[in-house]
């Protein structure tokens, strides 16, 4: 076992690592390719930056390619993303044209890689049309949808459905997101990497130094939300919750996030957040670069309560990250947060700023319970949401696509 695999083994157990290797052996000699739309920023890029090297350590032939697009394309895919999460409106003809054209250009660029691959994972809707451009593909193609598509805008879903129904399988994070598609829809949750810069253990000094460098005082409890400046993450609702809670407990609020190269709307949302926070010295708004992983790690490790007050959420990896650092989370009662945050066990799910405020007050005034919930949170992530488990599921899925059809409990 390599040194890196041993490090994972120290976290999840060495026999669990042996099992992962045993499954990987069954895919020896197969070429696996992941395609998404951004190299950095957002959960998908983060998962791939851990999963791809870990897969390679296991001896697998894995490549990660990113599609190249221009502004009209990313405006179109942002509309797709918002509409799939239920926002009204649809794709204009020119947007649909930009989408298809970008996929066509990328298909040409990636022709050799994709034609020779045994398995192709296409992440989210942005590159989904690639499948239709490879009629002679030899491999199995899997569409991995990371978005909350529980109640999509129907006209936009019809457009996406046309692109994805030809896949051999799809993967959704929750059963609520699965759609009417003519292939198996697997349910696999995303995960975090316990060894990454964002999640590795930090010393107390490292944490304090980061807070000092960012000019955030430690004289009051810190409430933190880490997420892109995206309207579905409800940063304005977080500010409202903070203001309601502040009437009872003296606190600071930190909103930390960055943009992603495939998100053209973040500037607009950030301006609204700055306006709402104007003049309040206890609110810190941090626009962090996409690679500020260690800073986010320190912010999460040093926070007293972490929030993720989303109104739509595919999964919510920032929730997982905070839980891994033994923080109870106050999260929106939506999407993947429902799977992670169990009321009173490792945090609270809320449906309003008022609900969030009362939970913040509760956690800050019940230290023992806060710590207990934090311990539960870490154990819950250890058992369910680490990258090793997600990779194990992905590899099992690939093995399943290669036979044993009709049998639900085969020996492999």
């Amino acid at each position: 076992m390599s040194d890196i695999l041993k490090k994972y083994g120290e976290v999840i157990g060495f026999h669990a690592m042996d099992s992962l290797l045993a499954i990987a052996e069954r895919l020896e000699g197969k070429k696996i390719v992941h395609i998404n739309s951004t190299k950095e920023g957002g959960g998908v890029a983060e998962i791939l930056s851990s999963m791809v090297p870990l897969s390679q350590e296991l001896g697998l032939d894995v490549a990660w390619e990113v599609i190249e697009g221009d502004e009209p394309f990313f405006n179109c895919t942002k509309t797709l993303h918002n509409s799939l999460q239920g926002m009204a409106g649809g794709l204009s003809e020119s947007q649909a044209g930009a989408y298809m054209e970008t996929n066509r250009k990328n298909a040409e660029r990636l022709k050799d890689v994709l034609e020779s691959a045994d398995y192709v994972f296409i992440h989210d809707p942005q590159p989904a049309a690639l499948l239709g451009l490879f009629p002679k593909r030899k491999g199995k193609w899997i569409w991995r949808c990371h978005i909350d598509v529980s109640s999509p805008n129907r006209s936009v879903w019809r457009f996406v459905k046309k692109q994805v129904e030809g896949y051999d399988a799809s993967i959704f994070s929750l059963p609520d997101f699965a759609q009417n598609l003519p292939h198996p829809q697997y349910l696999i949750t995303p995960s975090i990497d316990p060894l990454s810069e964002k999640n590795r253990p930090l010393t107390k000094n490292e944490v304090l130094k980061t807070y000092e460098e960012l000019g955030i005082g430690r004289d009051k409890p810190v409430i933190l939300q880490v997420s892109r400046f995206d309207r579905f993450k409800d940063p304005l609702g977080v500010i409202e919750s903070y203001r309601l809670a502040r009437d009872h407990v003296d606190i600071r609020l930190v909103l930390a996030g960055g943009g992603a190269t495939d998100d053209p709307e973040s500037g607009e949302v950030l301006s609204a957040v700055k306006e709402a926070a104007a003049g309040d010295p206890d609110i810190s708004i941090l626009l962090l670069p996409a690679d500020a992983h260690r800073t986010i790690n320190a912010l999460q490790a040093g926070a007293d309560v972490v929030m993720q007050k989303s109104t739509k959420e595919g999964f919510g990896l920032t929730v997982t990250e905070a839980m891994w650092k033994k923080k109870p989370v106050v999260g929106g009662d939506v999407g993947g947060i429902r799977l992670q945050v169990i009321n009173r066990f490792n945090g609270f799910r809320v449906r309003s700023p008022e609900g969030a405020a009362i939970r913040i007050r509760y956690l800050l005034t019940h230290r023992w319970k806060r710590e207990r919930m934090g311990v539960n949170a870490r154990q819950y992530v250890l058992e369910n949401f680490l990258i090793t488990g997600q990779l194990r599921n992905y590899l099992s899925l690939l093995v399943s696509l290669d036979g044993n059809e009709g049998e639900w409990e085969p020996w492999i």
């Binding site: 099992s19 609520d176 639900w408 020996w411 492999i412």
Partner: protein, 225 residues
Amino acid sequence: MKKQSKTVPFRFKECSLLPISTGIRAQTLRELRSAIPEIPESSLYYHFWGRMLRPHIPESEFNNDFASWADSGLGDLELAEELSAINPVKSQNLEELRSILEDILEARLEAGDFISWKKADREFYFIACKKFMFDTGRQTESLEDFPVAVKTSSRQSFFHHFMDGRRRSPEGKDDFSLWLEQFGESTEDVRARLSRVDSYLFSLGELKGQIVTLLEKGLGKGGTK
């Protein structure tokens, strides 16, 4: 001279469980009842056994998803208790389990009160699964080493041998007990204790802890009868 019989080693196997959406969902008890005959066997398996391998908390009050939904979705505690009393290991196979489930739901619907049409707070999603089993290549022969070997096995391996073993065995015995049988009387006590472990009221981690303690006490150095 009588030839000494050789100990058969315990080979550690394990499973990977992949949930698959069936696209079938229910929001009322009547819808739930109507869907039961349609769902694949693997869906019954997932909702009775698979929950142990997916995110769940130790404090879960009920031992299958149908009972949990009856309580938290429909608010029918009586039905939840009745469904929770189903011991899936006692069914000969998944079809028998399906019939038991149908009978309980049918009887509840026959009561004819508002529960039959009440809309649940959340939908019940029927999930099927694919379960892959494989040999890990690890094995142990010695009784003394056995508790440590179980302790260090993965969650999925423990699930396969203990929880799922009881389902696969016609006598409802877990794989550990079946292996210990070859040692005869010396492991009788520990096997009796294993058979009494209630496997449905704990998280997998807690259950594993209990079983390891039981094995350590019963098989540790000089621990066998």
